[in-house]
């Protein structure tokens, strides 16, 4: 029991009252934070699921196209065709602050603005299926990047929500009740001390009167 370790002094009482005030305020703030994070998370995770389904379907379709393209060409020609890419992608990552969680925001720039630079080969020796396959993959790419951003944000927010929830629960079910109990204990103890002093004084007064006048006060 925690209350056995509390010293029943006025200083301790003031300290505990201050602590309770902070705990209650902190609890309210953390609860608000958790609720707001939860609200944002709900929206984001729905978007995450939708994007993921879209990307997975897109990549699956692109993979099918690539298999068809490979079937039509020799391994060497395919490797050579894709060996030296014409296009390159640079990623800019900034961050956004959602309720003190740093989530990434991705933005990409391609080295050349020409959309046709995804075809890193001459069209003479490759099948037309390869063009289609590369195109289908390139169509998915913006969604893939968006997915990366959203999914990472979801993961970061989920762990922050978990942490915040633990803190809220610890405050609500441990710290605040314990402090309240401590305050109650000290108040009772101080009251008790005061009453005992009062009775002691009354008793002493009785004894002094008895000694001086040889009568007891009614």
């Amino acid at each position: 029991m925690a209350s056995t370790q509390i010293k029943p002094t006025r200083m301790e009482l003031t300290r505990l009252k201050k602590k309770l005030g902070t705990a209650v305020k902190g609890h309210k703030l953390l609860k608000d934070k958790r609720d707001e994070l939860m609200r944002e998370f709900m929206d984001l995770v729905r978007e995450n699921m939708e994007l993921r389904k879209k990307v997975e379907a897109g990549i699956r379709a692109a993979n099918v196209n690539f298999v068809v393209a490979r079937a039509d060409m020799s391994e060497e020609i395919l490797q050579a065709a894709l060996m030296v890419p014409k296009q390159s992608v640079e990623l800019k990552a900034s961050s956004r602050n959602v309720m003190s969680v740093d989530v990434p925001v991705f933005d990409y720039t391609t080295r050349t603005p020409d959309a046709n630079d995804i075809y890193s080969y001459g069209f003479a020796f490759t099948s037309s299926e390869l063009d289609g396959a590369v195109k289908s993959l390139s169509d998915v790419f913006p969604d893939m990047l968006k997915l990366a951003e959203v999914e990472k944000s979801c993961q970061l927010m989920a762990s922050e929500i978990e942490k915040t929830r633990r803190r809220v629960n610890a405050l609500e079910h441990v710290i605040i009740p314990e402090t309240r109990e401590g305050i109650r204990y000290i108040t009772m103890k101080l009251d008790e001390n005061e009453r005992s002093t009062q009775t002691r004084l009354m008793k002493v007064k009785d004894m002094m009167l008895e000694q001086a006048h040889h009568y007891s006060e009614k």
Binding site: M38, V45, R52, L91, M144
Partner: protein, 113 residues
């Protein structure tokens, strides 16, 4: 400035080279080392096939709390194992306590709505 990497078996990843992403074919043995190198080497997003991700789950877990890199699972050439969808469900479970959003949806070959 960051780069984007794609990890996985060669057949699953070579197509991404045409988009200008950096492609790293890897197996189960060299993948953890490669992932570490990529994560520290200025890659902001690392796409990894679900099959390979399943083999090096602990190594991926290490980067879960960091803002970057974002390690994202994608289906490989052999098809969709449902690990990516399961991952999203896991984050919901972590945040809310139980999967109340997508609980009824199967994790397998989900078609887009």
């Amino acid at each position: 400035m960051y780069n984007i990497a794609v990890m996985g078996d060669l057949d699953s990843v070579y197509g991404f080279a045409s988009l200008g992403l950096d492609v790293f074919p890897a197996g189960a043995q060299d993948a953890p080392e490669l992932l570490r190198k990529l994560a520290e080497g200025g890659y902001g997003v690392i796409y990894i096939t679900e099959e390979l991700a399943a083999l090096i789950a602990e190594d991926i877990e290490r980067y879960a709390e960091q803002r970057l890199p974002a390690i994202i699972q994608i289906p490989g050439i052999k098809g969709n194992t449902g690990a990516g969808i399961q991952g999203v469900k896991n984050t919901v479970e972590q945040a809310i306590g139980s999967d109340i959003l997508f609980g009824s949806e199967p994790a397998g070959e989900g078609e887009p709505r």
